[in-house]
């Protein structure tokens, strides 16, 4: 990293009181404080490499996952950790029970297993089958975990070549990784490169590959154009800080989703991405304007035409049902997402309007000739100011927790549909192979009748060749069909869990803010009564 690294502080519009954070995050601060300004060197990293992760950290971390930033970027974590502690005090039992149940599933999205709490409960939360049969290559060990956090966005470079790097920290006990805890610096194009490689390898086999984090030309340009410290924008619009936070959170979710797939998580490219502490080779093929990009665009168009025009003869009712179900799900998720976006917009407006009213009340209080009333009005103005802040915080929860959950799943379902399409393509290949085989057999038969021995040998060879091809295509088709079935079950299990967890968290944020609101008004009541 160059000397010109400028730490981007206070990226987020609301000032979060970091002293409210509890538990794991404080530890995290200590562990990585030395790496704040510059990426970790090898020696620093290995300092804590062999330490067992403190179990208490796990409990807190378990709840600080999907769509929620980790400590450094400071948005919903406050909500998280306060709630964790409130509810942890009352529901310690529940926390542990949740952990137990999740062990039944292969992947524990963003969760770590405290190894000693294992109990053999037969009912998992999601998934009808407690143990999902895994592919031969990857052993299924429920005690394995991998948790990744993306933090510390920092600007690098100058002018039009400005970009942001993120610190990617991994904690894992999977043996294939060289260490248990390590961190690297990555930029956005690195993530896209990783996604590209994984999609290329695994999509064809039927694996659901989590969608790549969105490119956003507007946001990227804003970062390149603006100077440092430019955080505040007009309320209700996407500020630079919002953009970075949103991207950071979505990058984190992306990596953890890959990490939760037992096959993808041990992929060498994925491991390199997480582990290699030098800069990765620049992924130019992911750039929007590259030659590879144009080729990809063409391919995409071709695929879309294929998707529309080709009708597969579906023999398996399971698939037929699932495709319909997925389509219906996607439609409805979109509707929910739209209505949530509306809520976010209105709530931001409400915050602004409350702020304006607060100012107006302050002015009124100054003009008021009766001193007692003037004081009460000034305090009303204060209350409304706090209420404004609360509305802003709530709008952020609305967005980062609720809205992003649905947006993520809309993209994920897009990936599921991609995988279904891969199967259709495999079927097409199989069809084509079979048709060709039939033709070759006919040709051979004709030749046999005509007794033309010279061409006959070749025809026999071709028949054998195509028989083999048909066999291969059939095997591939069957394989992808099976893989998809497993992936889909995994997907559903994860979806159920994630929805429950995040929505619950969202409701808890509504509750916390409401409790704050109560405090403000209760404090004001004696003031109002004191007017003489």
């Amino acid at each position: 990293m160059s000397d010109e690294v400028d730490t981007v502080q206070n990226l987020n519009v609301p000032e979060i009181d970091h002293s409210k954070r509890n538990g794991a995050t404080d530890d995290e601060d200590d562990i990585f404080k030395s790496a704040m300004e510059s990426p970790m060197t090898d020696s620093e990293r290995t300092l804590h490499g062999d330490d067992e992760i403190d179990l208490n950290d796990d409990d807190d971390d378990i709840d600080s996952s999907v769509g929620v930033s980790s400590s450094q970027s400071g948005l919903p974590p406050d909500v998280n950790h306060d709630i964790n502690n409130d509810f942890a005090k009352n529901h310690v039992g529940d926390n542990h029970q949740t952990n137990d149940h999740s062990k039944q599933d292969q992947s524990k999205p963003y969760e770590e297993e405290p190894p000693q709490n294992r109990q053999g409960t037969s009912e998992g939360i999601g998934g009808s089958k407690p143990q999902i049969e895994e592919d031969d290559d990857v052993p299924s060990d429920p005690s394995q975990y991998i948790k990744i956090s993306v933090t510390d966005p920092q600007k690098q470079g100058e002018g039009m070549s400005t970009f942001i790097v993120y610190r990617v920290t991994t904690r894992t006990n999977i043996a294939l990784f060289r260490r248990k805890e390590f961190a690297v610096w990555r930029r956005f194009s690195d993530f896209l490169g990783l996604h590209y490689k994984i999609a290329e390898k695994y999509l064809k086999k039927g694996r659901i590959v989590p969608p790549a984090p969105e490119k956003n030309m507007i946001g990227t340009t804003k970062i390149k154009m603006s100077g440092q410290g430019e955080n505040a924008g007009p309320t209700g619009t996407m500020t630079q800080g919002d953009f970075v936070e949103r991207r950071r959170a979505s990058l984190e979710r992306f990596l953890n989703r890959v990490g939760s797939n037992p096959v993808l998580r041990v992929d060498p490219d994925f491991r390199d991405f997480l582990e290699i502490d030098t800069d990765l080779p620049k992924a130019t093929s992911t750039s929007a304007f590259s030659g590879a990009g144009v080729v990809r665009l063409f391919n995409k168009v071709g695929e879309t035409v294929n998707k529309i025009s080709y009708r597969m003869d579906e023999a398996d009712p399971w698939f037929e049902e699932r495709i319909q179900n997925i389509e219906a799900l996607e439609n409805q998720l979109r509707k929910v997402h739209t209505s949530i976006e509306l809520l976010v917009a209105y709530r931001r407006d409400l915050a602004a309007a409350t702020g304006n009213f607060s100012k107006s009340a302050a002015i009124l209080s100054n003009a008021e000739e009766h001193t007692g009333l003037a004081r009460a009005l000034a305090q009303l103005s204060d209350v409304e100011d706090k209420v404004e802040q609360m509305h802003t915080d709530q709008a952020n929860s609305d967005y980062y927790l609720f809205s992003e959950l649905f947006r993520d799943y809309i993209s994920l379902i897009g990936c599921v549909k991609d995988v279904f399409h891969e199967r259709v393509k495999a079927y097409q290949t199989l069809q084509h192979a079979q048709q060709t085989l039939n033709k070759k057999r006919e040709a051979k038969a004709k030749l046999e009748l005509q007794v033309k021995t010279d061409k006959l040998a070749q025809a026999r060879e071709e028949v054998v060749e195509w028989e083999a091809k048909v066999e291969r295509s059939q095997a591939e088709f069957d394989s992808i069909s099976n893989v998809i079935k497993k992936e889909l079950e995994l997907f559903e299990t994860t979806r159920v869990k994630e929805f429950k967890k995040v929505i619950l968290k969202y409701l808890e944020s509504l509750l916390t803010h409401q409790q704050d609101l109560l405090k403000y008004w209760e404090a004001f009541l004696p003031e109002a009564k004191a007017v003489v």
Partner: protein
């Protein structure tokens, strides 16, 4: 209520001497017309009966205010501002839509919308009843106004007052009158100097205060309107989640249904918060903005009176100089002087009373507002906690 409408002793039902209590017990919206049932209880002499019950339309309230406004004898008092026209338009539109769409909706949706509409109607009713009641209360308390003939007719006459709204000519007439007043005011403020410090400070204060109240009212209205939008969006999310639950026939179905129900309950509470803020905060600011305006009008009238007094003085001087019609001029001057001094005295009382009334009203409404905010907040906490608890219980089953 804004300002007290009754003398002490009302609550016991035992009326002391010289009490006049006015309340609106009921209200009805019939197409374009809104009617109020006014109940009067009194021990004052001059009333035929101790109790009256009449039904009055909004237009009749406006008529009453005009009578006071026009009456020269009351020039020295602050004339209570008329209550705003009840606005049920948006509710009526929704009712129509509901009726038209009845066939398309499910039974649940229909009853939900009906409930929402009822809540809206109720909130609007509350506000308009409060404002009409406050209006009448001002007259009932006022030592001079309460004896006004028109007021008594308003309270006691059994049948419709057959008032008509202003016709075009009268409407333009009053418009021109108010223009005239504004220009006159400008003239007076340029040429006249008020020797009395009390009135001078009051005038500056009222002008300032009025503009701030106007600003505050506008901002408060905007805030409560957006708050209603937020509540509305909860409803949309809730219904979409219910739809999602039917598609998700696995474990998410129960979960999402519970969430949807919680959001629907939360919506109701949020709506109540918004409408109570309207009632206690926005409406208070709005009322006192108008009352401040009425006080400003009083000061204007006084200054006009002062100008007349000064003119009478000049005339007297002129008459004395020419030694013609001195007697008449003297008398005119004396009258003008008496008039002015009487008016000044009344005005001073009124302004002192205005301040007292204002402070009391603000205090009461701020307390009411806060208590309602606390009540609704607790309700919301209850909704959310029990939903969260129920969902968590499900998780750990």
């Amino acid at each position: 209520m804004l300002g007290s409408s009754t003398q002490p002793g009302r609550s016991d039902g035992e009326l002391q001497e010289n009490t006049l209590s006015v309340e609106i017990s009921d209200s009805l919206s019939e197409r374009e017309k809104v009617k109020f049932t006014v109940i009067t209880k009194t021990t004052l002499p001059g009333f035929e009966k101790p109790e009256f019950k009449v039904v009055r339309q909004h237009e009749e309230f406006v008529w009453l205010q005009d009578r006071f406004e026009e009456n020269e004898e009351y020039a020295g008092y602050i004339i209570p501002p008329a209550p705003p026209r009840p606005d049920f338009d948006s509710s009526r539109e929704k009712l129509q839509k509901l009726g038209e769409g009845e066939g398309n909706m499910t039974k649940e949706e229909f009853s939900k919308m009906k409930q929402e509409l009822e809540a809206e109607y109720l909130a609007t009713f509350k506000r308009t009843v409060a404002m009409h009641e406050t209006f009448l209360g001002r007259f009932a308390c006022h030592p001079v106004f309460r004896n006004d003939h028109n007021f008594r007719v308003f309270l006691s006459y059994d049948e419709e007052l057959s008032v008509r709204g202003k016709n075009k000519k009268e409407f333009f007439g009053s418009l021109i009158k108010s223009f005239g007043q504004s220009t006159d005011e400008v003239l007076l403020s340029a040429t006249q100097k008020d020797v009395d410090e009390f009135f001078d400070t009051q005038r500056n204060f009222l002008i300032d205060y009025h503009s701030h109240l106007k600003d505050g009212t506008g901002k408060s209205d905007k805030m409560t309107n957006i708050h209603k939008n937020v509540a509305d969006s909860y409803r949309k999310i809730s219904s979409e989640l219910l739809q999602l639950a039917t598609i998700d026939s696995n474990e998410l179905e129960k979960f999402l249904t519970k969430v949807a129900e919680a959001l629907e309950k939360a919506r109701k509470v949020e709506y109540r918060v918004a409408s109570d803020e309207e009632l206690k905060l926005s409406d208070t600011l709005r009322y006192y903005m108008k009352d401040t305006s009425a006080a400003k009008n009083l000061l204007y009238r006084r200054r006009r009176c002062l100008a007349n007094y000064e003119t009478a003085n000049k005339n007297l001087d002129k008459a004395r100089a020419k030694n013609r019609e001195v007697g008449a001029a003297e008398q005119a001057q004396q009258e003008a002087c008496d008039k002015f001094e009487a008016m000044s005295a009344k005005a001073k009382e009124e302004l002192v009373d205005f301040k007292k009334r204002r402070v009391e009203a603000f205090k009461k409404n701020l307390i009411d507002l806060t208590e309602l905010e606390i009540k609704h907040s607790k309700a919301q906490i209850q909704v959310l906690s029990s939903a969260i608890q129920s969902l968590k219980d499900e998780l750990s089953v």
